[in-house]
Amino acid sequence: MTIFDEKQIKELKQEQERWEKTTLPKWLEQCKECKSEFRNHSGILIKRLYTPEDVKDLDYMRDLGFPGEYPFTRGVHATMYRGRLWTMRMFAGFGTAADTNKRFKYLLKEGESGLSTAFDYPTIMGYDSDHPMAKGEVGVCGVAISSLQDMEVLFDGIPLDKVTTSMTINGPAPILLAMYVAVGDKQGVPRTKIGGTTQNDNLKEFFAQKLCIFPPKPSVKLTTDVIEYCARHLPKWNPVSISGYHIREAGATALQELAFTIYDGIAYVESTLERGLKVDEFAHRLSFFFASHNDFFEEIAKFRAARRLWARIMKERFKAKNPRSMWMRMHVQTSGCTLTAQQPLNNIVRTTIQALAAVLGGTQSLHTNSFDEALCLPTEESVRVALRTQQIIAYESGVANTVDPLGGSYYVEELTNEMEQKAMEYIQKIDDMGGAIAAIEKGFFQKEIADSAYKYQREVDEKKRIIVGCNEYTIEEEKCPIELLRVDPKVEREQVARLQKLKRERDNRKVKETLEKLHYAAEKDENLMPTIIEAVKAYATLGEITDVLRKVYGEYKELIII
């Protein structure tokens, strides 16, 4: 169902040519455009003006449809935010489990609607807090979780049937999910009621976030174990959050973020199908995670294109039947790498624009960064302002009153089409290379991202991109006006002492037994979730469990590409 007919477009084109010959030159003479060409971050050339001619082939039912219906360009829910606002889910974690538990409760009290856990580097890398590599890093960039005991403290007084929790964890995702399940069991919450998300996107680690423990193949195996286990036992859990955010933060353009993320999604669908599951048994629980950067319309177009592209891939490539399998549900985080250490209060404005793009793009869940994040982890005050930013957009701005308010904008629709089309070209290219793992092994993603990061920095250095307060409108002798959050070094000492006490006092024979069982299951290539749940319940630590897997799978050696 095309919207414009050929005759009308032809007339319009003539009118535009007239305008370009008569009205426009006079204006250009008086007021020269400030750049010879305008491009967005993805390198797409932006035209001076968009008209129906740019979207003359747009077929409303094929390309847009109605919200809640295929291809979901206008949103996965029919009423979108009129029915329910997006989940306000602030990423939080520092110090000990008790410190973070306090921050969780603070954020819930201030009105956030879901939890999101940031783990420290040792936890993310599968080391206990007392490992030599953990020195100086315990509880610094996230919360330290070495055993079920820490997890029990983290969710103390938080009923797991009432909140959903997102956990930013990848290599050790099966272990942290096992701990969460164990806390739920202890609280008496049925496993069918536990809801949340494990990031569990190991592929992007190899070229974006780079917190890899195991080589690519066993890493994908572990991701798939969680997908399979959740499909069978945790129906409300999103087993993987296929993450473009880190791809973007590592320096990719919006277009690369879109294409590479979707490709990772394709790889997980394939790996799960190989297990013998049917696409409609698990695809409805795959979720996505994107960044929202500074270029407002580019971001909106990216989110809309992502939904449409995923729906088409699920339907056409994987033959999904259930519309829910075609839904792309997404969490969005405003872009950390756009925040400046200079004039940090400006970051509130950047975050507002980025959050607005995410909402206009139709996200299901949102994290807004705090203004001090180029300097330290957020304080209570800065995180409150970030949460209030979402609340102001939700309750005061009116943008949540109608579904997909920018649908039909010539510019947004044209950009959405272009993002989809160019992402498809990348997808074709990666298919031709032999898929995601082959592309990683060739260094394809790594090189693409490094090139974009360097290009971006050059543009900033040469002032082709203005960063307010950083390369333009700077203040000499700037004094840092804000209070910084510092994690006390005593956190590490206390955490190590607690952990060592646990290791002395638990039933060590039982721990050894469960770890041996796990070793056996890993060698037999079984789904490891059930044995990991047993091991964490015996208080085997994160490091001990990861070490068993390190022995079986080996460790990843980074492919260095500058």
Binding site: M125, Q209, K210, C337, C376, A450, I560, I562
Partner: protein
């Protein structure tokens, strides 16, 4: 007089943090400015970094860290450099390092600290002007 030999720089990522965007951009910028750049890759211990510096006979080391572990890791690196007799290697650092830590880090011998938003030109210029003279 600067010798005609190219300046050799080691860009290193100590600790567990995986944010290598800045380190890689700086490595590439220094290379484009005509220096020989060795990049360690992620998650290097202080021992590994100093060993690489020795093996590669570098003039300059650039340390990049965003995890907040600089106070635990930088002093160890400086200590090992001095134990190995690499006292004439110029060390600079970058990443997320709070202003109040800077004086302390300079006291242990780190020559300069570049925060977020530093143009690569500034770093290139600094290295060219401060690289130790080769015998």
């Amino acid at each position: 007089m600067q010798s005609k030999k190219k300046i050799r720089v080691l860009i290193a990522k100590p600790g567990l943090d995986s944010h290598d965007r800045g380190a890689k951009v700086v490595a590439r910028a220094l290379r484009d400015a005509g220096m020989e750049v060795i990049y360690t890759g992620l998650r290097q211990t202080p021992e590994q970094i100093v060993e690489t510096a020795l093996q590669e006979d570098v003039d300059v080391i650039g340390l990049s860290i965003l995890s907040g572990a600089h106070k635990a890791l930088f002093p160890r690196i400086m200590e090992l450099l001095s134990q190995k007799g690499l006292t004439d290697v110029m060390v600079f650092a970058g990443g997320i390092i709070p202003e109040e830590d800077i004086a302390e880090l300079k006291k242990i011998g780190i020559k300069e600290i570049f925060g977020p938003g530093t143009p690569t030109e500034t770093i290139i210029k600094y290295v060219l002007e401060n690289v130790p003279k080769r015998a």
